[in-house]
């Protein structure tokens, strides 16, 4: 392990491990109510950045995810924020110095597509499956956060792999699956204690085979892709009507009883107002083009296509529309709409000037996002597309931050950003690299050398496993 220079401030930053403590749920602040119609934040984050000191990581190869690979780089963190990153920086007084020579540093890994907590381990246990409200093609009214079980052991294994933030989505059985929630991967007893303060909500929309299979199989609409599109359009027409009635009442001075709140339409209206980001599960190129037209028809924008294994067929269009593509390198062929998947998908999106993301959708793969990005990068090199590590690291950091609407806070190692940092034992694009130490908001949440960083989940306590 690295040599640690101990100072008083260092002790604050280094001693103990958030993962080893027993966090207590904070009291929720009163919901901010802006009117009888909409309570925009009735389940507010209670996460507060812990006290963190000044830390200098010295001598590593730093991938800033802002475009640079810095040899012999230093990263300075001060009270939870990045304050400086550069080669051969002098370490100011008061900083705890961590020797990071021979190691690599990246921003915390961000998974743009996770079901951790909503489909928890043991995931073969049906009682732990809360991911798909598979009862109606439109369940825009459900919120993934109300399924999140913070004790999912998958959060712990993801944290040990450098994953500091993830967006948890409802499943893809429905045309409208519900609201997503963005979480910080900190140990917590409550969902609110993990909720990323200020992160916007997303709306999960699903294209293609899943909704038509689920509902067609029950003899109801949608049974076809045209049925899918009709379902989206009907919902957006209803949402426009709801938003219009609500606006009218608001602008008319809120005289008399306003329209009754409707949870489903409230979320859709939130998209139309630009407050909720569309996160769209959609594989085929032609379907993505249809979804872009639907968004135009109703006046909203799509933030990211997820899975999107045919994005490479329309990469310039997606770049022009500024829609991110969250995809894999290795997954393909499990159903018809993913038969044409390529390892090169992310690289081809990137090469067209688009926003490429490597995501997981899986409790195992989330632990290997750096390796999945390496497989994608390798395929780019095989195709003769020269992409540097300094750019490819954005696929699991800066670009998912953009897709989640939190790029002003996390995703790069730039002054002012939250100090979400991973110290890797080697080049993160190597299969042998392991996260040695992970910080969130400047606080150590994982340290491979520190037994205090035991796994948090209560489920594994007293069990035969490797709970340390």
């Amino acid at each position: 392990m690295s040599v640690r220079a101990v100072t008083v401030l260092a002790a604050l930053a280094l001693a103990g491990c958030a993962a080893g403590e027993r966090p207590q749920p904070a009291v929720s602040p009163a919901a901010e109510v802006q009117g009888p119609l909409v309570a925009p934040n009735p389940y507010p984050a209670t996460y507060r950045p812990p006290a963190a000191g000044r830390v200098a990581l010295v001598g590593a190869t730093v991938l800033t995810a802002a475009g640079d690979e810095i040899a012999n780089g230093t990263v300075l963190m001060d009270r939870g924020k990045i304050v400086a990153v550069g080669p051969d920086l002098a370490v100011p007084d008061g900083y705890a110095r961590i020797d990071a020579r021979g190691r690599w540093i990246t921003p915390g890994v961000i998974d743009a597509h996770s079901h951790l907590g909503v489909w928890s381990q043991p995931d073969t246990v049906e009682a732990n499956n809360d991911v798909n409200e598979m009862t109606d093609p439109n369940t825009a009214q459900v919120w993934a956060e109300h399924s999140v079980w913070p004790q999912d052991p998958g959060f712990d294994t993801a944290r040990e792999a450098g994953v500091t933030t993830m967006m948890v989505l409802p499943g893809s059985a429905n045309l409208f699956g519900g609201r997503t929630v963005t979480l910080k991967n900190v140990p917590s007893v409550t969902m609110q204690g993990m909720k990323f303060p200020g992160a916007p909500y997303g709306l999960k929309i699903a294209c293609g085979e899943n909704p038509k299979r689920v509902y067609g199989g029950r003899g109801r609409s949608p049974a076809t892709r045209m049925g899918n599109v009709a379902g989206y359009r009907k919902a957006w027409i209803d949402a426009q009507d709801y938003a219009r009635r609500q606006d009218k009442w608001e602008k008319g001075g809120r005289v008399g009883d306003g329209p009754k709140r409707d949870l489903q339409l409230e979320t859709l209206a939130g998209v139309l107002k630009g407050e909720i980001l569309v996160q769209n599960h959609c594989y085929r190129a032609d379907e993505m083009a249809n979804m872009i037209d639907i968004a135009r028809e109703f006046g909203f924008s799509i933030r990211a296509f997820h899975h999107a294994n045919e994005a490479y067929k329309i990469a310039p269009l997606l770049a022009k529309e500024d829609i991110c593509v969250a995809t894999w390198a290795s997954w393909w062929g499990y159903k018809m709409e993913v038969y044409d998947a390529l390892e090169e998908n992310a690289a081809l999106v990137h090469a067209a000037g688009g926003c490429a993301i490597i995501h997981s959708d899986d409790a195992i793969l989330v632990q290997h996002l750096n390796q999945e990005a390496a497989a994608a990068l390798s395929s780019a090199w095989r195709a003769g597309i020269p992409i540097a590590r300094a750019d490819a690291i954005r696929w699991i950091t800066a670009n998912p931050a953009k897709a989640l609407g939190i790029a002003d806070k996390v995703g790069t190692l730039e002054p002012g950003k939250n100090a979400d940092v991973v110290l890797w034992s080697a080049d993160p694009f190597s299969i042998y690299a392991r996260a040695e130490k992970v910080w969130i908001d400047g606080a150590v949440v994982f340290d491979r050398a520190d037994p205090a960083c035991r796994r948090h989940s209560d489920l594994l306590l007293g069990q035969p496993g490797d709970t340390q």
């Binding site: 043991p122 294994t157 499990y334 159903k335 044409d340 390796q371 694009f429 299969i431 392991r434 496993g465």
Partner: protein
């Protein structure tokens, strides 16, 4: 095997490509044989066979030379738990032949009979260095879930030739633990009782076959097809792959293998590290997925990334796989081996776990899994460490034939590559 050898001979005569001499020079050679690792050496291949290998091999004039500087040659990899050749699109049932729900065909389901050498998955997997796989039947459970055995696995090659079966009926596949319990009526004990009863029935059938032919055998739960198929298992000639995870389940299987004199290969064994010395003492090989570190069920609470390393340290023969019944993602095998190294398995052991170890356990080590003079060339030249995602193959030979470095997804890629301005 005869069918296979005849086809190979015909293929050798028909293709001029085989009738040439090829040398891979100046590469690091991971032989997985007595020669061990050769830091810098040459492999000479003539007519598809390795004729010389070592640090100082003379390359005759007229030889096609492949520059291996900076690269590494490994034997072709073997994905030990796959459905390659038996699936095209997982959710298109007509394109899959991995499992049967026929009540009469359980142990008798011989996967080697219906495989597709034209599958586009084969060259995709080949590009990840995989030249062979154990095509393994899955269960197709329907109401009642009463199929005891999944069927028989076959070792196949990925050359896309008409004779893709390296070894048919290489092992019988049985799930115990939670899955076995459910099929046996809901309890582990019932599954063990049912397995012992089935073996007793098979032995009775084998020794009273004439009675059964006269319609005078005793009543049997298994079909005649299944009884026939299980005779080599009961006689210890055919390995029995037992999918099992919980430590206590593994102990039960070790005891049962000893009592019944079965040749068991443990598959999964996520809590294997907890009973590693017992497994080593029983001499059972274990097929491990190094990435399987989640408590996905109450049988896997002890799952850890260090399972492979701990089993090896205890003296167990480790085979690495990725996923279960994997086909499209079979290509991630080398990443699985790399992760096992990251969590403590020695690098050469990890490569052995995807080459010579499975080749030995599945009875094909005479043609697959090592680099030795006299063997068919079944190998891959990599431009770096074969377990690193950033490395790619530079040359691939499957059972003597050099294969092109292409596959349908690469053709698709080229169709959509941005055109040079």
């Amino acid at each position: 095997m005869n069918r296979r050898l005849l086809a190979l001979a015909a293929f050798a005569l028909a293709t001029s490509a085989r009738a040439e001499t090829i040398a891979i020079v100046d590469a690091r050679l991971m032989t997985m044989a007595a020669a061990g690792e050769i830091e810098r050496g040459t492999i000479l291949i003539r007519d598809g066979c390795i004729v010389a290998i070592g640090p100082a091999v003379t390359v005759p004039a007229g030889t096609k030379v492949i520059d291996g500087r900076g690269g590494t040659v490994t034997p072709g990899f073997l994905q030990a738990d796959s459905t390659l050749g038996a699936v095209e699109v997982s959710q298109v049932p007509a394109s899959t032949d991995r499992a049967t729900h026929s009540a009469a065909i359980s142990a008798g389901f011989d996967l080697s009979l219906g495989l597709n050498p034209d599958s586009i998955l084969l060259p995709v997997s080949r590009l990840a260095g995989i030249t062979h796989a154990v095509a393994t039947p899955l269960y197709d459970d329907r109401a009642g879930r009463d199929l005891q055995f999944a069927g028989q696995a076959a070792v196949i090659d990925l050359a896309q030739g008409p004779a893709m079966i390296t070894r048919p009926r290489a092992a019988m596949v049985l799930e115990m633990g939670e899955g076995g319990a459910e099929r046996a009526g809901g309890a582990r004990a019932a599954a063990i009782v049912a397995l012992k009863a089935a073996l007793a029935d098979v032995r009775h059938f084998a020794s009273h076959r004439a009675d059964y032919d006269r319609g005078k055998g005793r009543p049997q739960k298994l079909s005649r097809i299944d009884l026939e198929a299980l005779i080599p298992v009961a006689e210890g000639r055919m390995p029995l792959i037992v999918k099992v995870d919980r430590a206590s389940d593994i102990r039960e299987i070790i005891a049962l293998a000893r009592e019944e004199k079965l040749r068991v290969i443990l598959d999964g064994a996520e809590e294997g590290w907890r009973v590693a010395t017992d497994i080593a003492a029983a001499g059972l090989p274990v097929i491990v997925d190094p990435l399987a570190n989640l408590p996905r069920s109450f049988s896997e609470l002890g799952a850890t990334m260090e399972n492979a390393a701990r089993l090896h340290a205890a003296g167990v023969t480790v085979i690495i796989k990725t996923g279960s019944g994997t086909a499209h993602r079979a290509r991630e095998l080398r990443y699985g081996a790399g992760n096992a190294v990251a969590y403590g398995l020695p690098h050469d052991v990890a490569v052995a776990a995807i080459t010579i170890n499975p080749a030995r356990v599945f009875g094909v080590a005479d043609r697959v899994g090592s680099l030795e003079a006299g063997r068919l060339a079944d190998l891959v030249l990599w431009n770096g460490d074969p377990l690193e995602p950033l490395s790619q193959p530079q040359a691939i030979f499957v059972e003597g034939a050099e294969k092109p470095l292409t596959a349908r997804p690469l053709e698709l890629r080229d169709r959509y590559l941005p055109r040079a301005p």
